[in-house]
C-alpha cells in the first residue's frame, strides 16, 4: 500500500476512530464523577437557558475586561475563524468531506483561502511567541500547550506545500503527480485528529460542558453568567 492510499484509507479511519472514542472517554471521565444535589432555594429555575446563554455570551468578553484582553481575544478569533474558513471553505476540503458524508456546499475562491491561510499562520506564530514570552502564559504552559500548537500548525504548513500538488480541477483526490505531499498533509491532519481528545484541543467540545455548567449554576443564584 502506498502512502496516499494509507492516508486516505486505513490511516483516516484509524484517526477518526481514535478521535471519537477519545472524545467519548474524555466526556465519560467527567460525567462518571458524582453530582452533589444543590438543595438551596433557587432564585430562578431557568438553569437550562442560563447554560445556553453562557455558552454564547462568553464568546464576547464583558465590557470591563475588553481592554485587558483585547489582544488575546482578537488573535484567538483570528486563528479560530481562519482555521474554520480553511477547513470548510476550501474546495478540496469540501470535496473530501462530500466523499465521506455526502454533504456539499459552495467553496470560497482559492485566492481568499490563500490569504486566510497566511493570516492564520501568522496569528498562530504570534500566539506561540506570546505564550513563550508572557510571564503568565509561560508559567502556565506545559507540553500539552506546545504540542497542541504544533499539531494545529502542521496541517497548515503541509497544506501550503500541498497546494502545488493539486490536480486539474483543484481537487486533492486526483493529485496523482505529487501524492506524497498530499499524503503528508492528510497524515498531519490525522495526527491533529488523534491528539485532539487527549490535550487541551478537546476544548472544542469541553467548552460547551464547562460554560454550560457555570451558566446553569450561576443562573440558579440569579447571578450574572
Amino acid at each position: 500500500m502506498d502512502l496516499i492510499t494509507f492516508a486516505r484509507g486505513t490511516g483516516l479511519e484509524a484517526a477518526f476512530t481514535i478521535f471519537i472514542i477519545g472524545i467519548a472517554w474524555r466526556l465519560f471521565a467527567i460525567f462518571r464523577h458524582p453530582v452533589k444535589k444543590d438543595l438551596s432555594l433557587p432564585r430562578t429555575t431557568h438553569t437550562l437557558s442560563g447554560a445556553i446563554r453562557t455558552i454564547f455570551s462568553r464568546m464576547i468578553p464583558h465590557r470591563e475586561f475588553r481592554a485587558s484582553t483585547r489582544f488575546s481575544v482578537i488573535n484567538g478569533y483570528t486563528f479560530h475563524l481562519g482555521l474554520a474558513i480553511i477547513v470548510f471553505g476550501f474546495l478540496p476540503h469540501i470535496v473530501f468531506i462530500t466523499q465521506i458524508t455526502g454533504l456539499s456546499w459552495p467553496a470560497l475562491p482559492n485566492g481568499v483561502i490563500y490569504l486566510v491561510a497566511a493570516i492564520t499562520i501568522i496569528s498562530l506564530l504570534v500566539a506561540l511567541m506570546v505564550r513563550m514570552n508572557n510571564p503568565v502564559l509561560a508559567l502556565l504552559s506545559n507540553f500539552d500547550d506546545y504540542f497542541s500548537w504544533f499539531v494545529t500548525m502542521l496541517p497548515l504548513a503541509t497544506g501550503m506545500a500541498a497546494l502545488g500538488a493539486l490536480g486539474q480541477n483543484g481537487s486533492a483526490l486526483d493529485a496523482t503527480q505529487n501524492g506524497v505531499v498530499v499524503a503528508i498533509h492528510l497524515l498531519s491532519f490525522e495526527l491533529l485528529l488523534i491528539w485532539l481528545p487527549f490535550g487541551k484541543l478537546a476544548h472544542a467540545v469541553l467548552v460547551f460542558v464547562s460554560r454550560g455548567t457555570t451558566g446553569s449554576q450561576f443562573a440558579r443564584k440569579g447571578a450574572r453568567t
Partner: protein, 450 residues
C-alpha cells in the same frame, strides 16, 4: 542571634538578588509526619472531585486571561497570582488520581505526586492571595469558576493542617466559642443590654416565637455595634415580630473560609436550629458577604434538606420594603458610590437590591468604572483580612479600589458588607485616605421617616 527565626532560616548562601521571597513563610497545625499531611490532603481533594470540579479541571486552556481579572495579579504583576495557578496542586492531584487519563499519568508517572513542599508553597496562594471573589470566573472564556475550586482546595489544606495560623485560630475559636472574635453569647447579651439602654430602643432577645430571626456578624457586634441598633430601628419601625437568639446569632462562617466543612456545618446548624426553634419564616443575614453565601447558598446543603425558612440579605430585605412602600426615606442629598460585596452581588445574585435602596434614598449613584457584578474586590474577603502576613499584598490590591472610588467622585462611599467595611477602614488608615466607607443599613436607619 536571638532574632533569627530557626523555623524559617535565612538563605544566606543564595545570591542576594535572585531570591524573590527570602523567607517563605507558611504555617502548620499539629505535629504530624509530612507523609500523613500529604495523604490527608489527597483524600480530601479526592472527596471534592465531583462533576463540577472535573469539568473545570478538564477544560482549562491555559489562556491566562484569568490573571487580568484578579486584583492580586493586576496590582503586583506577579504571574504566580494567576488565578488558575493557585490551583496547580489541586489540578495535579485531579489529573493524576481522577482525570480522564489518570491511568496513563500514574503508570508512567507523568504527573508526579503532589509533594509537601508544593502544598506548603501553595498555602499563600490558596489563602493569602485569593478572596474567593469570583471575578476571574467572569473573564474565563471556558467559564471556569475558580473561586469554587479554591474553596474546595482549601478543604485539602485544612485536612493537612496547612492553614495560615491566624485564620486557623479564628476558625477554631468560632467552633469552640461560637464566634471568631470572642462575641460569645454572654458578650452579645451584655452588648445588647447596653445598646438598648444607650439608644433607648427595644432589641428583643431569645423570644421563643418570632417571624423573623436576625443574624449578626461578630464584626458588627465587636466593631460596628451601631449596625445592630440600625437593624432594630428598621425592624421595630416595620412592626415585625423578630428576635435575636443567643443560641444562634453568629452569621460569619470561618469553617467555610478556612476549609473545614465539619465546622462550617456546625456553625450553620446553630443558625438553622435557632430559626427552627423560634419558628422563624425569615432569617435576615447581616451586612456580611460570605455569611450570606454560607446560609443562602450552602445552608440547605449543610442541613441536608431545603431550609424551612427564607433567607434574605439585609440589603434584599430593605429593597423589598422600600419597594412595597413600607419603608419611606428622607432624601439624603448626597451622591453615593456603592462598593458591591462580591459574595452578595457577583456570587449571590443580589446586585440590584442595594441600588434600589440607594434610589429610595434619593441619592445620585455614581458608579465606579467597573461595578456591580464586575466590581473589584476590596481584597479582604475569603478570610484574607485575618492573615497578617498578607497585609502588604492586600494593601497593594486595595489601591485599585481607592483609585476607582476617587475617580467616581461621589460624596460618600457605601457598602453592605461589614468585612468589606473593615477592609476599607484598614486601607483608609494605612494609606491615610480621605474616604470612609459607610454602611447601607445605617444610612437607611438614619434616614427613616418614622
Amino acid at each position: 542571634m536571638s532574632d533569627i527565626d530557626t523555623l524559617h532560616p535565612l538563605e544566606l548562601d543564595t545570591p542576594r538578588l535572585s531570591v524573590e521571597n527570602p523567607q517563605t513563610r507558611y504555617d502548620k497545625q499539629g505535629e504530624r509526619p509530612d507523609e500523613e499531611r500529604v495523604t490527608a490532603a489527597m483524600q480530601r481533594f479526592a472527596k471534592d472531585f465531583g462533576r463540577t470540579a472535573a469539568t473545570y479541571m478538564e477544560s482549562c486552556i491555559h489562556c491566562g486571561q484569568c490573571a487580568q481579572a484578579c486584583h492580586f495579579y493586576t496590582s503586583t504583576q506577579n504571574p504566580k497570582y494567576t488565578p488558575i495557578w493557585k490551583l496547580e496542586p489541586f489540578k495535579q492531584a485531579y489529573k493524576r488520581e481522577s482525570g480522564a487519563f489518570s491511568f496513563i499519568y500514574k503508570a508512567l508517572n507523568l504527573k508526579h505526586k503532589v509533594t509537601i513542599e508544593e502544598l506548603e508553597e501553595w498555602q499563600t496562594l490558596l489563602y493569602d492571595s485569593c478572596t474567593m471573589c469570583g471575578r476571574c470566573s467572569l473573564i474565563c472564556p471556558m467559564g471556569i469558576d475558580i473561586a469554587t475550586l479554591v474553596g474546595q482546595a482549601r478543604h485539602g489544606m485544612f485536612a493537612a493542617g496547612l492553614v495560615p495560623h491566624e485564620l486557623w485560630a479564628v476558625a477554631e475559636r468560632a467552633e469552640r466559642e461560637g464566634s471568631p472574635l470572642g462575641a460569645t453569647a454572654k458578650v452579645l447579651k451584655e452588648r445588647i443590654d447596653w445598646l438598648a439602654d444607650e439608644n433607648e430602643i427595644e432589641i428583643p432577645m431569645d423570644k421563643s416565637q418570632a417571624d423573623v430571626l436576625i443574624a449578626l456578624s461578630s464584626i458588627e457586634i465587636m466593631k460596628y455595634p451601631q449596625s445592630i441598633v440600625s437593624t432594630a430601628k428598621v425592624l421595630n419601625h416595620l412592626g415585625l415580630s423578630w428576635t435575636l437568639r443567643s443560641d444562634g446569632y453568629e452569621a460569619t462562617n470561618f469553617g467555610l473560609l478556612s476549609g473545614n466543612s465539619e465546622w462550617q456545618k456546625d456553625l450553620s446548624m446553630k443558625l438553622i436550629q435557632a430559626a427552627i426553634d423560634c419558628s422563624a419564616k425569615l432569617v435576615i443575614m447581616p451586612e456580611c458577604g460570605h455569611a450570606y453565601g454560607a446560609l443562602r447558598w450552602q445552608g440547605a446543603n449543610m442541613y441536608g434538606k431545603p431550609l424551612p425558612f427564607q433567607v434574605l440579605h439585609i440589603s434584599e430585605f430593605l429593597a423589598e420594603k422600600v419597594q412595597s412602600g413600607e419603608i419611606k426615606l428622607k432624601a439624603l442629598g448626597k451622591s453615593i458610590t456603592f462598593h458591591d460585596p462580591c459574595q452578595i452581588s457577583r456570587r449571590g445574585g443580589a446586585t440590584q437590591a442595594p441600588r434600589d435602596v440607594i434610589h429610595a434614598l434619593g441619592a445620585d449613584l455614581k458608579e465606579t468604572q467597573d461595578t456591580g457584578d464586575l466590581n473589584w474586590c476590596c481584597g479582604g474577603g475569603g478570610g484574607v483580612v485575618t492573615i497578617h502576613r498578607a497585609d502588604p499584598l492586600r494593601h497593594k490590591a486595595f489601591e485599585i479600589k481607592m483609585q476607582q472610588i476617587d475617580a467616581a467622585g461621589a460624596d460618600i462611599a457605601v457598602t453592605s458588607c461589614s468585612n468589606c467595611r473593615q477592609t476599607f477602614d484598614d486601607g483608609q488608615a494605612h494609606f491615610q485616605w480621605d474616604k470612609t466607607m459607610h454602611s447601607l443599613l445605617e444610612l437607611v436607619a438614619d434616614n427613616l421617616i418614622e
